[in-house]
Symmetry: C2
Subunit: 348 residues, 2 copies
């Protein structure tokens, strides 16, 4: 029988909590037989949603506080000790759960991941990792890191993001020899500011990395890389520009098709299924959640507006991460390559 | 009669030079009766394209060198003293032309603008300014600066980009009270790295700027600002992500519509005109060229792949810039506000 895992679920985080979170958890429980799901939140409300009789492989842990979306993250995590997110993170720290899921405040989850679950020894800065599709070849998914945790970076952080992203690509996406690229403002080796120029050299000389140079954000969706390394500031800018452009274009498209001439409307009805299929390629709800990479257990964030299906898919993603042995393998690697890491840290 | 202007045109820059550049110049000459166009390049080739009899308000200045697209910009500008771009830039410097147009190497044009045409006294760093549309309200164009000239910035540079962008919005886009925003990784006042946090304060306290806070790249196409200020690194990342996503999506869309079922194909034929109109909203060829703002004359770059019509439109954009008195008004403003600028430079 499959090994079983326990996932701590922040049932109160996100715009649709606890309803959609709980419903998603139930979907995941039914789908993934080796998962135990511990729900942290308002026990009364959660029980009402689940019902007394359906608690197979589900445990509810009552918490009395909630971190809101707009709260200052570090302060909230420090103060709200009985919030669903903080109690769930402590459960992971204490070993009663193997991973943490939340749809809540991203900054607070980052703080919970880094300060409660804890950094892997040797990793300077955990970062936010996400998986995106390519449109040219929609089967080529790629890892993008950091997309927002570290607005300020050093070259060594970028190197570590590459190592972490590379592990995610091999373990979770099952890519044999991931092609790693650095997000930069030109493809030449000397492009970018000092930090990116130095990072290029670290990546080029890095052992066991299949580093193939810089990539411009213009090419991100065209399937040219398996792992794209970025500082959190421009990675965030590029990610949100992609999301925003895709959303705005679909909205604009819908508008002109719906408000068009009769001819356009008839045509729109005919192409609708094809358009729907196309839009699903770029739908980030299908791509899974954002992972806080570099901490001692999988900590995964889904969009605040996630519905039950997305919650369930993200729990499925956590299951794959756990089964891939991602975190133990990273920990072992960093430990075995301490000296190499140390040199990189000291040099820069 | 309208005041006349002379524009120096690098006839050899770009993928389609000199053919499309010369044809575009002829279109512009016929359309804009107060422009004189001086073409710098291979006189024999250009004459062949124009014909001996059609040289009304056109002058050809023979040059013997060319800066290629892939050349290292600063070195190329320094070495190729008889290149079409450098000779044209020197004509602007010497006063025999009022503005400079090129479709060539962007970095080389930046270097020509900054080192030959020269910075406006008091401006620390000229930057690359571009105008983009909003999809939500396609009539609301907005100014984006810096989109690639300065990978490394100080807060004071960002402040100056705002002043320059603001002038462009009032003068060229004729916006009465432009709303200025700072591109950042969150909307709160304390978001971003140290540089952006400090820039926020400078912008907030800046006189005569209608600064309304941060904007995330996700919102760029939604018409929330008239001027968006960015460091050249993340501005470039966001701009190219927008362009890349739009291009990739249109290509993907075309593919599914063309390769779809018979029903989809019929529908595609019916919606084609509406799609074409929509795609033109996001077509940067309509939005004009990128302006090197902060130098002593208009220096404008169009895309390397520009065709005659785009060349002509960009020359039309230069005409508007000249007629708006943009550069003299910036120069006067910076001079009159020397003390304020000095304080900003010294404080940070």
């Amino acid at each position: 029988m499959d090994k079983t895992y326990t996932i701590a679920i922040d049932a109160m985080g996100g715009d649709n909590a606890p309803e959609e979170i709980v419903e998603g958890a139930l979907l995941a429980r039914d789908k993934y037989k080796n998962l135990h799901l511990n729900l942290y939140g308002d026990k009364g409300k959660i029980l009402e949603l689940i019902g007394e009789t359906k608690q197979d492989r589900i445990k509810i842990i009552n918490t009395t506080e909630m971190i809101e979306m707009g709260e200052e993250p570090v302060k909230a995590v420090r103060k709200k000790k009985d919030s669903s997110m903080v109690v769930a993170a402590n459960a992971v720290k204490g070993g009663s759960a193997d991973a943490l899921f939340s749809a809540g405040n991203t900054g607070a989850l980052l703080a919970s991941g880094i300060f409660i679950v804890g950094r892997i020894s040797g990793i300077e800065r955990p970062g936010l990792l996400t998986v995106l599709p390519s449109v040219d070849d929609s089967k080529r998914q790629w890892v993008f890191m950091d997309v927002g945790a570290n607005a300020e970076v050093k070259p060594s952080y970028l190197y570590q993001f590459a190592v972490l992203g590379n592990f995610y690509a091999t373990h979770v996406l099952k890519k044999p020899n991931p092609e790693v690229k650095l997000l930069n403002n030109g493809t030449e080796e000397d492009k970018g500011d000092k930090i990116h120029i130095q990072a290029y050299q670290l990546l080029k000389n890095g052992k066991q990395l299949n580093f193939t140079g810089n990539i411009e954000s213009r090419e991100l969706l065209n399937g040219h890389a398996d792992v794209v390394v970025a500082d959190g500031f421009s990675g965030n800018a590029a990610l949100k520009a992609i999301e925003g452009t895709a959303l705005t274009m679909f909205a604009g498209l819908r508008k002109i098709l719906v408000n068009g001439s009769l001819k356009t409307k008839i045509g729109a009805a005919l192409v609708k299924p094809a358009l729907k299929e196309f839009s699903s390629v770029l739908d980030y709800n299908n791509a899974g959640g954002a992972v806080i990479a570099g901490v001692k257990a999988p900590v995964v964030k889904t969009h605040g507006s996630a519905k039950a299906k997305t919650v369930s898919n993200t729990i499925g993603q956590i299951k794959i991460i756990l089964e891939s042995n991602l975190v133990p393998d990273i920990t072992k690697y960093v430990d075995e390559n301490k000296d190499q890491f140390k040199i990189i840290l000291e040099e820069k």
